[in-house]
Symmetry: C2
Subunit: 429 residues, 2 copies
């Protein structure tokens, strides 16, 4: 953990180093992944089963989970967890339904009809991690926007290492209405979704979080299918004045640190005393966590506390860091929020811990990391929709605007472009 | 060119081969590009100048085009071309302005405030090809949506091979209001935009068409910056009945064929006689084109004519091909259009040649190729906007939904997530 003050003479240098620290895995898995993808493309199910047996120590007869298996496993999910998933699904659905966009269509003064229709993707694959990092909340966050967008076929893959599955993951699939599920993971699952196998029909887009192999596989199949963004380690930036409870802020910082040793938690405050109180509280809270090893590694190596003279100074710093999650633990958080240009999602006020958004606030928890909030957004209904534009000229409209198109086509040296318009200006069908 | 009939016994096999033919360049430029990117990242301007001198045979003192140079060159653009660019800009702007989306915001029954704000990207780079394939229309199609989205800094790069530039390209930049222009191209331009140099401040997203090196460079910098889609060779699919003028349809098919030997033009018709008329017309038109060599190669190697029994059969074929451009040269084109799920842009009726959309119909001409219309859309205002979501709980709202979040965090084995919520349920700030 490093403590920076904007009044330090070397602040600018230290802050730039913080901004530029990419916190990425250094192992290059691209060759391994390329091999797996090529193998699955050629050998299909046989290859997928081999990798599943080798990496997950699981060798089912069929990769497809039967309705019976899903029902039996999901029934093991505790009642309070099931109820919480249902509340989460309801709140997430309501928020994402409001994203459904309107088609555009009009006839202009020249008589040209033109517009844009939103059309849902036909089939998408949702990658769900298995084992320790198997999160039922991610099933909801990925599947519900697709469902709301109108995607007809939603395919889920989830590895079942050593035959073990978290019942809550299948309960979440039930809640989200996902029924086509395969017990596979890793690069081989991404390959199966992108290329198809004898058992698994290919999809048009693959979304969902995963480890380094999954991320690299998604990068490599991009183009064959669409992908959502490639997720990096989680990040939180908390802007807090000294009227906060330091212990609350410590828990908030650690809620992202506990995800990954490469995660990053940053506090910006205008009080050096408060900064020290939070640092002390973090050390205390760490001792209480079952996730202490991960959270501690993240905090020691990537944590930062920045003391500013005035909280207004936090805005340009924040916009440069472009963090995944931002908490504004201040009075009138909207005042600061309105100046934020680069962030995944905002959590406003003293009673909105980031974790509430991870589960059931309503907005999506799949968010841009590694400064990609400069140009990218969280997962949404838009990720499962396409826009098809259209144009319709009648003869009179083409007479009015066609000549200019011919002029431009000729200026670009494209005679067939020019001719296709010019002919229609000279004669009738 | 191949002629297929849906009544042929081997139609299904032949059609699948057509669908799966990727028409891609076979030369792997990834190593070369990786080297250029790494070099520009380390040596900045010096590297960019060296590559510009080597590849473009151009060695300017400054990479930055002065306002004087731009004005002098743009003034050489013929008046009718300038006027056509202005008409195009007006029509493109009007269409893209209608895309500007509404923010979402509401307070739900529990008192939680939540929403989503659209925010424009701060700075983007537009890659414009130079030399033969330098298209002023692409300047408008890339720059205007960015301008309308509210992007503050729009940077344009355009190579000036041997000091030669198409005045219409700079006139288009003037019309679009782009003033920061650098005389560079290739992978080195993409690197300069993504990483920055002494002269060029980095941007957050790079858009625009380019050759194989540019496409690969965009693929490699993805993540450091955002990119639009990676463009492949152009495509057109024309659905036409026998009430069309075969010559018109021939020009339409060749308008895409003349872009690139790897371009693809496909006709689907319900009349074998009409199909033969068009094939004959194509051969005739080819002899009239200055772009004959390119158009002929494309038509011979990748052209296809598909005869169906009924035009309704065209829809499933079309949705599988997912072409960039679709012309529906039929009566009541809306009837077929409403069933199209996978296409970049539609051109409806007998008086809407695709070329009108390339220049000034209104919709964007940067469109998904290589079947990516299954999951992707044309360039739009949305490509230059981000969504930032937000959530604000008061103490009472957190009391109502917080317990379920704690339950889910515990089910996922994330104690700091659970604790950050649980603490706030137990006490006040």
């Amino acid at each position: 953990m490093q403590l920076l003050k904007t009044t330090d003479t070397d602040f600018s240098t230290a802050f730039q180093a913080l901004v530029n620290n990419r916190r990425e895995a250094t192992v290059d898995v691209s060759g391994t992944v390329r091999g797996i993808l090529a193998d699955v493309k050629v050998r299909g199910d046989a290859a997928v089963k081999e990798y599943t047996s080798r990496f997950d120590h699981f060798s089912p007869e069929s990769l497809h989970l039967s309705a019976d298996f899903i029902a039996t496993q999901a029934a093991k999910c505790p009642g309070d967890v099931k109820a919480a998933l249902e509340l989460a699904a309801e709140r997430i659905s309501r928020f994402h339904q409001k994203q459904l966009p309107q088609d555009i269509g009009y006839t202009d003064a020249t008589g040209v009809k033109l517009g844009l229709n939103w059309v849902s993707l036909s089939q998408v694959g949702i990658y769900v991690p298995g084992g320790r990092a198997s999160y039922p909340s991610s099933v909801l966050m990925n599947a519900l926007p697709a469902k709301i967008a109108g995607v007809e076929r939603i395919v889920m893959t989830v590895p079942i290492p050593r035959g073990e599955i978290n019942p809550a993951v299948l309960a979440a699939a039930q809640v989200a209405g996902v029924t086509e599920i395969y017990s596979i993971g890793g690069a081989q699952a991404v390959a199966a979704l992108a290329y198809g196998t004898e058992t698994i029909k290919p999809v048009d887009k693959v979304v969902g979080p995963g480890n380094a192999y999954v991320a690299e596989a998604k990068r490599q199949v991009f183009g064959t299918v669409g992908i959502d963004s490639i997720a990096g380690p989680s990040e939180i930036l908390v802007v807090a004045d000294d009227k906060n409870n330091p212990e609350w802020i410590a828990w908030d910082l650690l809620s992202q640190a506990e995800h990954d040793p490469s995660a990053q938690s940053i506090l910006i405050t205008d009080s050096e005393i408060f900064a020290q109180q939070v640092i002390t509280a973090v050390e205390l809270v760490l001792t209480k966590l079952s996730t202490q090893a991960v959270a501690s590694a993240s905090w020691q190596n990537h944590g930062a506390v920045i003391v500013v003279s005035d909280l207004a100074e936090s805005i340009p710093l924040l916009n440069q860091l472009a963090p995944e999650h931002v908490e504004l633990c201040v009075d009138n958080p909207q005042l600061l929020a309105s100046q934020i240009k680069c962030a995944g999602s905002l959590f406003l006020g003293r009673y909105t811990p980031e974790a509430i958004g991870d589960y059931l606030g309503g907005p999506n928890h799949v968010l841009p990391t590694s400064r990609s909030a400069r140009f990218a957004s969280g997962l949404s209904v838009y990720d499962f929709l396409k826009r098809i534009t259209y144009l319709e000229c009648n003869q009179a409209a083409l007479q009015e605007i066609g000549k200019a198109a011919v002029t431009l086509a000729e200026a670009e040296g494209l005679p067939a472009h020019a001719g296709s318009v010019a002919l229609r200006l000279q004669s009738k069908v």
